[in-house]
Amino acid sequence: MDVEVPGGSEAVGGGTDTGSESSFKVSQVEIEDVEENLKNAEAIFEHLEQLPFQVFILSEFGKPIFVNNDRNEGEVVSLAALICAFVSRCQSWGDSLMTMTSQDNHIQFLHKSPLIFCVVSKYPEQLDQQLEVLFEQICSILSKSQLESVYKKKGDNYDLRKLLRGTDRLIDSSISSWRASPINLVDSSISAIPMNPSDREFLSTTMATSLGAAKLDGALFGIMIAKRQIAAIVRFKKYIIHPRDLNILINLVSDTTLQTDSQNWVPICLPRFNDTGFFYAYISYPWCNKEQDVPACLVLLSVKRDHFDGLKEVRQQIVSKLENNSKFFVNFSQAVKAPNLYQISQIGSNSESLWSFLYLNHSSRQVCMSASKIPLITRPERWTARCEMRRSSSLSTQHPHLRTLFVRGTKHCLFVWVTDLFSLYCIFGPFVTATIAFQIVEKLLKSLKSHEQRYFIINTTSF
C-alpha cells in the first residue's frame, strides 16, 4: 500500500529526501533570531502588531514592574491601574479573575500576591502556565520569601524595578521562548542533545566523578547545556531538579551577556526545589570564543556561597578530562555545534508523508522533536506546525480523557496519540490515510525506542 503524495514532483522530492534534508538543516532553537528583520520603523511596527504575547507585570497595588511592549509610560500606568482594578473587583466578589477574551485577543491574569501578571495574546493556549513560569522566573531572581517581605518592609508604593534591575532581558527571553516552543509543555519538560550513548556516558561519568572527588558538601548538581538543550545532568545522591527549574537555568545561561570565556558566580533561586533559598551557580562556557567555539555551558550548582573556588577546581578537572579524550571531544563538539536531530527519513519507507513530530515522555518529562524537513521549512511554515501542536497539546490538557485525534485539513493532517506513558503529536501531509498514519507512527515509536539513549537522557548519574 503506497502512501499518496501530493503531486508527482513532490514524490521525487521524497525520494531524495536525505539530500534535501541536509541542504535545509534548520535548527529548531531560534531564540536568537526572533529580533531579526527589524530593519526599519515599519518593520518594527509590524513586528509589534504581531507580537504574540504582550506581558504586563505589576504589583498588586497597581505599580507597573515590567512590560514588553513599547507603549508610553502613561498608557502603561493606566493599563496597570485597570488590570489591578479588575483583579481586586473580582476578589471583592470572593472570586478570582482568570481570563478575558474579545474577538481575537485572549487575556490571561494571574494574581500571585504581591504580584499581578497579565498577558495579552492571539493564542489562547495555556497562557496560565506561561504566567506561572514568569512568576517562577521572578522568584528565581528574588526568591519567593524575599518577594513577599519586600512590600511589607518598604511599603505599598515600593518600585520593585529597583530590585530587578538588569533582569528584564531574562523575563524577555523567557517570553520569547514561548514563541519558539512548539507546545507549552516544553516549559515543564526538557530536551536532550542527541549524542552517542557512549559519549553521553563518558560525559556524565566525568562530571560525576570530578564533583564527587571534590567532596564539596552542598554541591548538588552539575549540568551541561547547549542550544537550550541538556547534554548531561548529574546529581548528588537522590536530589532531583524539576524541568521548570532547569528551564530557568537554561534561560539564564542563554543570556548572551554571560557568554564570555570568563566564569560567572550567580545566586539563583530554583522555586520548584526550594522557593525560599538560593543556589549559587558556577556558570562557565569552557570552549566559547576560543578557536573551538563550542557553545556548551557547564553549570555547577551549590547551596554554599563559598564554593566558588572549589567549583572552579572541579570545572578545570572536568574540562581537562573531556579535552584529553580526543575521540570524545571531537564527537562532542560536533554534537553540540550542529545537533544531529532526529531525521524522519530514519523511519524508512513511507516516511515522506510524515512532516514533523513531537514526542513527550511523561515520566522523564523529556521531549524529542524531529528535524525540520520539507515542506515545513520556512518560519511561517514551522510556526503553523507549532500552533497545531500547541493547540492539540492544550486540548489534551483540557481533556485528560482524550486518547486519539486525527484531523484532516486542506493543508496537512494532524495525528495525536496520548497514552499514560507518552504523548505524540504528528503533522502529516494532507493525503495520508488514517491507516497509513498509524503504521508510520508505530514505526516511529519503534525507531525512537531503539535509539532511546541517543535522544533521551535515560539515567541521571549521581555522585
Binding site: E49, Q54, L79, L82, A85, F86, R89, C90, W93, G94, D95, S96, L97, M98, T99, M100, T101, S102, Q103, D104, N105, I107, V120, R391, S392, S394, L395, Q398, H399, P400, H401, L402, R403, T404, L405, F406, V407, R408, G409, T410, L414, T433, A434, T435, F438
Partner: protein, 526 residues
C-alpha cells in the same frame, strides 16, 4: 398587566423540570445573572445605576447591579486597547453585520461571563453562568454557545418589540416604558429558556426541515405561489408541518428566532385543544391567533388584534438594520401551519406594535394594521380546501416513510447555507412527540458530559469556520469516538458509543462511511 394580544401571552409554561436523563437544561438552573445595560444613561457620577435597564435576578441589590454592569463596561473598554488597527476595521464590519455581535467574555474561578454589544455599541447585554451549577446540571460550558444564547435573547426581544434604540429615539423619557417592556419580556423568556446539554446545537442554531419527495414539495410551492398571487398583500411566508420547516420566504436572519417561537411556544399551546377535539372538524383549518369570529366586520381590537413582529426587509445587503413591523397570521390545518406576514403600514412600526399590544382605545380602526376580518375570511376560504389537501398528502407521505431502525449513534447535521439542522440530541418539543410518535429515536445512551465538551472544543480548535472541508476523528478514554466531517461547508458530527466494532481509527473510518451512506447520502455527498 398587558393586553392578551401580546404575543408573549403565548409563552407557555408547559415546561416542568426536565428529567435528569433529558438532553436539555433549564437555563435558569445554571444562570447567575443576566442584564441589559445602556452605558450612556449611567455616565453621570452618582447616577451609574441608571445604566441598568434590566437585571435578573430581580432581587439583586442595586449596588451589585451597578457593579456588575460597570465591570462589563470596563472590560469592553479595556480589551479595546489591544485591538490592532486591522482588527478595529473588522470589528466595525461585524457591527454592520447584524448577526455577528461584538463580544467579550470573562472567565473567573467561579463564573463564565459573556457580554455582547448591540445597535452601534449603545447597549450591552450580559450573562453569567455559574461553573458550579453547570457542573451539577451536567451542562458543559461552551463559550460560543452562551454567546449565541445571549444573541438569541436579544433577537427574540427585537422581533416582538423592535430595536432597543427605537425606544430611545422617540421621546427621551421613554426609558421607563422601555424598562417595562424588557421586564415584561425577559421575566418570562429567561425562566422558560432551555439549553441543550450538547451546546453545539445552541451555537449552530439551525432549523429542522422536513424531508419530502420532489412532487410533494412542488405541491407546497404551488400552493404558496397561488396564495401569494391571490393575496399580494402577503409579503413573507413560512410553511411548517408539525414542528418541521417545509418552505420559507423571509430573511434568513429572522428564521431561527421565528422558527423557535413557533415550534417552542406558539404551536405547543395549540396542541392540547387539538387533541381534545380530535375527530370533530379535524380537517377544518383555523387561525391560531386573532379573532375566532370571522363572520362580522368589526375592527380587530384588544384580544382579537394580531401580533406584530419586526422582521428584516428583503433587501438585506442594502438596508442593513431596517426592521419592519409585520402583522402575523398563523393558520393551521391538519398539522400544517402557514405563517403569513403583512406589512404593518401607517404608523412607525413600534408605535403600532404598541397599539396592538396594549388594548388601546384607538378611534380609527385602520390604524391597527391592514389585516381585517374580511382578509382573514378570504384567506380562510382559500386555504380551507387547498391546505387541507396538501396537508393530508404530506401526512400520508410522512406516515408512510419508514424511519430507518433506531440509530446506534448520535449525530448533528448542519447546513449553514439553508440553516437546516437535524440532530439526535436536539429537543423535541412536546409537539412532535405527541404528533409523530416514533421519530428517529436513538437507542444509544446520551453521551457523557465529557464527550459533549470534547465535541465542542474539538470543533472550535480544529474545524475552521472558514474552511469548507475538514475531517476529524477523536477518541476519548471512555472509548466514545467523535467524528466531525465538513464537506462543502456542510457539517456532520457523529458521536459513536463504545463498541467492539470501533476499536481502531480504521474501523471508525469505515463505520463513518457506512453511516453517511445509509443515513446522510441524500443531504451529504462525500
Amino acid at each position: 398587566m398587558e393586553s392578551i394580544a401580546n404575543p408573549l401571552y403565548f409563552f407557555s409554561n408547559l415546561s416542568l423540570n426536565p428529567p435528569s436523563c433529558s438532553n436539555v437544561v433549564r437555563f435558569i438552573d445554571v444562570l447567575e445573572f443576566f442584564f441589559v445595560a445602556h452605558p450612556m444613561s449611567g455616565r453621570k457620577e452618582g447616577e451609574e445605576h441608571r445604566r441598568v435597564l434590566y437585571f435578573h435576578p430581580k432581587g439583586e441589590q442595586f449596588e451589585r447591579q451597578t457593579e456588575i454592569t460597570g465591570f462589563a463596561e470596563a472590560v469592553v473598554n479595556f480589551t479595546e486597547n489591544f485591538l490592532s488597527t486591522s482588527r478595529r476595521e473588522t470589528s466595525v464590519k461585524l457591527n454592520e453585520n447584524d448577526d455577528g455581535f461584538d463580544f467579550r467574555t470573562v472567565s473567573t474561578q467561579r463564573t463564565e461571563h459573556v457580554y455582547i454589544r448591540t445597535e452601534d455599541d449603545q447597549f450591552i447585554l450580559g450573562v453569567s453562568i455559574s461553573k458550579q451549577l453547570s457542573l451539577v446540571s451536567d451542562y458543559p460550558l461552551f463559550q460560543p454557545a452562551i454567546r449565541s444564547i445571549l444573541s438569541d435573547a436579544y433577537k427574540m426581544f427585537r422581533m416582538f418589540f423592535g430595536s432597543f434604540s427605537s425606544f430611545l429615539r422617540t421621546i427621551p423619557d421613554d426609558i421607563p416604558k422601555f424598562k417595562e417592556r424588557l421586564d415584561f419580556f425577559y421575566s418570562k423568556y429567561i425562566p422558560l429558556l432551555k439549553v441543550h446539554k450538547m451546546p453545539l446545537l445552541d451555537h449552530l442554531g439551525g432549523v429542522e426541515f422536513l424531508r419530502m419527495s420532489g412532487p410533494l414539495y412542488l405541491n407546497v410551492v404551488s400552493l404558496i405561489t397561488e396564495l401569494r398571487e391571490e393575496f399580494p398583500i402577503i409579503e413573507k411566508i413560512l410553511f411548517l408541518y408539525q414542528d418541521k420547516l417545509l418552505y420559507y420566504q423571509l430573511s434568513k436572519r429572522d428564521l431561527p428566532s421565528l422558527f423557535r417561537y413557533l415550534t417552542h411556544n406558539l404551536l405547543p399551546t395549540t396542541l392540547a385543544p387539538e387533541l381534545e377535539h380530535s375527530g370533530r372538524n379535524a380537517s377544518k383549518g383555523r387561525y391560531l391567533r386573532g379573532p375566532t369570529d370571522l363572520t362580522t366586520d368589526a375592527p380587530l381590537l384588544g384580544d382579537e388584534a394580531l401580533s406584530v413582529v419586526h422582521l428584516h426587509s428583503e433587501q438585506e445587503s442594502e438596508d442593513q438594520m431596517e426592521l419592519i413591523g409585520y402583522q402575523m397570521m398563523v393558520y393551521r390545518c391538519l398539522n400544517a401551519t402557514v405563517c403569513m406576514f403583512v406589512r404593518n403600514t401607517g404608523e412607525a412600526s413600534r408605535r403600532s406594535s404598541e397599539s396592538s399590544q396594549s388594548s388601546s382605545t384607538r378611534s380609527s380602526p385602520p390604524q391597527n394594521g391592514v389585516v381585517s376580518r374580511r382578509l382573514l375570511r378570504n384567506i380562510d376560504h382559500f386555504l380551507e380546501t387547498e391546505l387541507a389537501l396538501v396537508a393530508s398528502k404530506i401526512g400520508d407521505e410522512v406516515g408512510d416513510e419508514k424511519f430507518p431502525d433506531a440509530t446506534d449513534f448520535h449525530y448533528i447535521y448542519f447546513n449553514p447555507s439553508s440553516l437546516s439542522m437535524t440532530s439526535s440530541l436536539s429537543t423535541s418539543p412536546s409537539l412532535s412527540v405527541a404528533a409523530s410518535g416514533s421519530g428517529s429515536t436513538s437507542k444509544v445512551p446520551l453521551p457523557p458530559v465529557d464527550v459533549n465538551r470534547l465535541v465542542c472544543d474539538t470543533m472550535s480548535n480544529f474545524v475552521s469556520e472558514t474552511e469548507e472541508f475538514g475531517e476529524c476523528f477523536v477518541k476519548s478514554s471512555s472509548d466514545w469516538w467523535i467524528v466531525i466531517k465538513k464537506v462543502n461547508s456542510r457539517l456532520l458530527v457523529l458521536i459513536l458509543p463504545p463498541s467492539s466494532y470501533t476499536s481502531s481509527l480504521a474501523d471508525v473510518q469505515s463505520k463513518t462511511a457506512t453511516i453517511v451512506k445509509s443515513h446522510f447520502e441524500a443531504i451529504f455527498f462525500s
